[in-house]
């Protein structure tokens, strides 16, 4: 038995409340494919049974599980390439100059999924900025799915994953093959840590970041939620920091908080400082 339109509407509401993600009704069939694995452990036969259970109990962990399952975890190493060229030629050298006295660098990979973005930054720093060797560098990856965070923490990837966007020179330098998987070197993993955070909820304790990568996340948010997230990110950033969004994203509704700039064929944003 499949879900009714009322069931789908209810599931869309649960996902919106839990993760602020808007699910297009044209993608209703996603619910069936993605929620069946949750429905079974939850002792219901199928997704419409799961909807029934959610309506009766409103169990928080089950609601979270639904939101997590519907999250899009598309990611790859050095995704889109150009933003990483900009980091190499503009953002990181500038941050190194700015933070010379403190010798600290804090990077946030927001909605990090399985960790490829955070690890790409780690490899970029190791490869091109040996002067950071004695600095206190931390790349924090956050996500609302505990399942993907576990994958990120392991730092092990399948062939299909290392085939995507990762230069062969980086693969042989920073990974070791172990059976069917490739394991990232300890040197790169030590720069990264991963923790749970929902961008639409009060943030956990996070440091002030010099660089924030929040790419291809806000596409699925409502205008109000996007605006709230930009405000939260603004509070979490150093005023001289850099914010990177996805290629098709803009902070157009938060121009009072971020100003767009362009370098190395990439757009990025700087926090607007109000006095």
């Amino acid at each position: 038995m499949s879900c009714s339109e009322t069931d789908y509407a209810y599931l869309r509401k649960v996902v919106l409340e839990e993760s602020a993600s808007l699910i297009d009704p044209a993608r209703n069939l996603w619910f069936e494919g993605r929620l069946n694995p949750i429905a079974r452990p939850a002792v219901t036969q199928n997704v419409d049974g799961l909807v029934e259970l959610l309506r009766v109990d409103r169990t928080p962990h089950l609601q979270r599980a639904v939101a997590e399952a519907m999250t899009i975890n598309e990611t790859s190493f050095f995704r889109d390439a150009r933003p990483f060229d900009m980091l190499r030629s503009k953002a990181i050298p500038e941050l190194i100059r700015q933070n010379q006295a403190e010798r600290t660098l804090r990077v946030w990979s927001a909605a990090c999924a399985t960790g490829q973005e955070a690890y790409s930054v780690a490899m970029l720093l190791l490869e091109h900025f040996p002067e950071l060797k004695d600095w206190d560098v931390k790349i924090v990856g956050t996500d609302l799915s505990r399942t993907v965070l576990e994958v990120a923490r392991r730092g092990r990837y399948r062939r299909a994953e290392v085939n995507r966007g990762l230069p062969a020179k980086m693969l042989v330098k920073y990974f070791e093959r172990d059976g069917d998987e490739w394991e990232l070197s300890m040197q790169a993993r030590e720069l990264c840590e991963f923790q749970y955070a929902n961008l639409c909820a009060p943030p956990p304790t996070l440091p002030v970041f010099d660089l924030v990568l929040m790419r291809n996340v806000l596409l699925y948010f409502s205008e109000q939620d996007r605006s709230d997230v930009f405000a939260a990110v603004h509070r979490q950033m150093d005023p001289r920091g850099f914010l990177l969004l996805g290629n098709s994203e803009q902070a157009e509704d938060s121009t009072d908080q971020f100003e767009m700039e362009f370098a190395s064929e990439s757009y990025f944003y700087r926090p607007v400082v109000s006095y």
Binding site: A81, A160, V162, N163, A168, L171
Partner: protein
């Protein structure tokens, strides 16, 4: 086959030419669809402008299925493609003066394997501007290092998707359509 070839292929035996295996080498669900329309102006057997000002790619693989798949993907992003069935045939084309922007090179092929092909190519400085990407089932750490040492610019492990192929082309600085 020279000494280097024997040494290089140690422990990397070919799994044989098998069309069914080749079909599994390309992962599904990546938009590979022979019936998809080609870009406007692109005829079935060539290009409206005769191929001038387009990227030229040499596809070297003993599997016709793999060659066809790669050709289809590259033509879709505007490349003009030529094909060779082994490393020796590819080298002959290049030595005769044909120039390419990119070579996609399998490893395990009869007559001359891909590793020996790239080694000779770089040693003789033939078409030095041409980028070479190995496209192979070999996935051993030591093997990838060796291919890079011999002069390959990139490495794509089979099985691969059309998307991972496009991402590797971007890494090589080769523009592809979205």
């Amino acid at each position: 086959m020279g000494e280097v070839t024997r040494q290089a292929t140690d422990g990397f035996e070919d799994s044989g030419d098998n069309e069914e295996v080749d079909k599994q080498i390309i992962e599904s669900g990546d938009g590979c669809n022979a019936s998809e329309p080609r870009p406007p102006g692109l005829a079935q057997c060539g290009y409206a402008d005769g191929g001038k000002n387009r990227m030229k790619t040499l596809i070297v693989d003993d599997s016709r299925f793999i060659r066809d798949f790669l050709k289809q993907q590259l033509q879709r992003v505007g490349h003009v493609c030529a094909e060779a069935e082994d490393g020796f045939a590819a080298l002959s084309m290049l030595r005769s003066g044909e120039c390419f922007d990119l070579m996609l090179l399998d490893v395990n092929m009869p007559v001359m394997n891909g590793l020996e092909c790239v080694r000779q190519l770089r040693e003789e400085n033939i078409d030095a501007q041409m980028k070479v990407m190995m496209v192979t089932t070999e996935a051993d750490h030591r093997f990838i290092e060796l291919a890079l040492k011999y002069g390959a610019d990139e490495f794509l492990m089979k099985p691969f998707t059309a998307q991972s192929l496009r991402e590797k082309l971007l890494l090589l600085g080769i523009a592809v359509a979205a």
